[in-house]
């Protein structure tokens, strides 16, 4: 094992850039993706029929195709099409449209939106309808009922699954090395090509990811602990996509 290249400031700079980009990508995709997830879940449950179908089709397509294919589709497929539109290259948004980070973030936001949207939909369905009726009876507007009652209650129910999705998101970041975005894997690829060392850079990245997963798990567990009203659940760390099921909450009987 030869780790002498670690002393090289150029490689340090690559690794640092890769690390920062990874964190940025996770942060942007998590925030954007969760907002999209709420929209998707709401559209599927309460949207007018065409919108509900659209949301359903969106989740089916995103969840049924590989993330790598989506990444290539947006970066090479859509990216090249945009390039061909006259005037785009001179426009102000061109620096954004040229940046692989934009396509990486776009793909991940859509992905988180579809997977978490499905989780959230199940959780929204598990909230006893009586609670929403109570909100209406207190004179809350439908908007208030959703944001103050229904959504927070649903998040309580599916929080461990949602935090699991975030760990899965972190683990999909290396895919962006295929669209020439400088993440940790891309940094390792450059170091490998220049030093002819195969294992060492990859092992280092694997170690960094192991550490990042553990830190993220601990942080997310704190988030779960401090989210009001959640019981501390004993659940496994390291999720399997689609494994965790939303707990079924018994419906409160209707009193008339």
């Amino acid at each position: 094992m030869d780790f002498s290249w670690l002393a090289d400031p150029f490689y340090q700079a690559y690794l640092l850039e890769g690390f920062v980009n990874t964190l940025w990508l996770v942060a942007v995709s998590a925030v954007g993706g969760l907002i999209l997830a709420v929209a998707v879940a709401l559209a599927r449950l309460k949207g007018p029929r065409p919108l509900a179908w659209l949301a359903h089709g969106f989740t089916t397509v995103i969840r049924g195709t590989p993330l790598l294919v989506q990444l290539f589709f947006f970066y090479y497929g859509v990216g090249r099409l945009l390039e061909g539109i006259p005037g785009v290259q001179d426009s102000l948004i061109w620096p954004i449209l040229r940046d692989p980070f934009f396509y990486g973030a776009l793909t991940f936001i859509l992905s988180v939106g579809a997977y978490s949207g499905e989780v959230l939909r199940g959780a929204l369905l598990s909230v006893p309808p009586g609670e929403r009726e109570a909100g209406r009876a207190f004179g809350m507007s439908p908007f208030q009922v959703f944001f103050r009652l229904w959504l927070p209650r649903a998040i309580q129910l599916c929080l461990p699954t949602l935090t699991g999705e975030m760990i899965l998101l972190l683990k999909s970041v290396p895919l962006v090395s295929t669209i020439a975005l400088m993440d940790l894997l891309q940094a390792a690829n450059i170091i490998r090509d220049e030093t002819f060392l195969v294992y060492e850079p990859l092992m280092l990245i694997a170690g960094i990811y192991l550490a990042m997963t553990m830190v993220l798990t601990v942080v997310l567990r704190q988030v779960e602990r401090h989210f009001p009203g959640t019981q501390p659940t004993r659940h496994r760390w390291l999720p399997i996509r689609g494994q965790a099921r939303t707990p079924k909450v018994p419906d409160t009987p209707h009193h008339r």
């Binding site: 195709t65 590989p66 294919v69 894997l185």
Partner: protein
């Protein structure tokens, strides 16, 4: 840029279909081996012998904490170097280049096995203890108890997880294109690069994968109904 070119989707239909078949072959083989690894892993994780338990836990934790793409690249290089070292040690000089198909299956099965370990472990733990005790009381041998009681009782619990893993596996086969083995997505990339019709070919790739996953979902739903026969109808239905 104009997407009009001499070559179109039809010229590539043959290679793409061939790639899709290769992808399915890889997935089926990797799934079968992953299932075996998962059974061994789950038994090890539930074993009364601590070192075995530790080993299985280390395997499933390490594999699940590191991104799949990284593992595939790492194992791809590690696999060929380990084999070369082995043959050199046996007195056969030279480099060994392992067949891309074998690598693809091996790597995906190794990753799949770790996830399968967790799914099967959970399913086995969910079997009511009395059923196992009843089997013991009737004098079942360990093997008879395993394939007569444990497997049928575990399947309804394990199948949703197993179906998810199969879908994940189909999607993970696309990662194999990164190490340059010509399965479906690698063929698509070549087609897109050669015709410059990126949008068309990547959309086509999406459609093909979607067909595979949707068909699998339907088949697994039927299978689940079959293994749940004799169980009380659940409220969810």
């Amino acid at each position: 840029m104009n997407t009009v070119s001499q070559e179109g989707l039809l010229d590539w239909a043959g290679p793409i279909l061939q790639g899709a078949l290769t992808t399915l072959e890889i997935a089926v083989l990797a799934y079968a081996i992953g299932l075996m690894l998962g059974l061994v892993g789950a038994s090890a994780r539930l074993s009364p012998w601590a070192p075995l338990r530790g080993l299985a836990t280390a395997y499933s934790t390490a594999v699940r904490a590191v991104p799949e793409l990284l593992l595939i690249i790492l194992l791809y290089y590690a696999g060929s170097q380990a084999l070369t070292a082995l043959t050199n040690a046996m007195g056969l000089p030279g480099q060994i280049a392992i067949n891309g198909f074998v690598t693809a299956v091996g790597v995906l099965a190794f990753v799949q096995g770790a996830y399968m370990t967790e799914v099967l472990r959970g399913a086995i733990l969910a079997i009511p203890k009395g059923q196992l005790e009843a089997a013991d009381a009737f004098g079942f041998s360990t093997w008879a108890r395993f394939h007569r009681i444990v497997i049928p009782a575990m399947l309804p619990n394990a199948l949703p997880g197993m179906s998810n893993l199969w879908l994940i596996l189909i999607k993970d086969t696309a990662l194999i294109s990164v190490i340059g083995f010509s399965e479906l997505f690698f063929t698509i990339q070549q087609a897109a690069a050669s015709t410059r019709a990126h949008f068309l070919f990547y959309a086509a790739a999406g459609v093909i994968y979607l067909l595979m996953t949707l068909t699998s979902t339907a088949l697994f739903a039927r299978l689940e109904r079959y293994v749940r026969r004799g169980q009380p109808i659940s409220e969810e239905a």
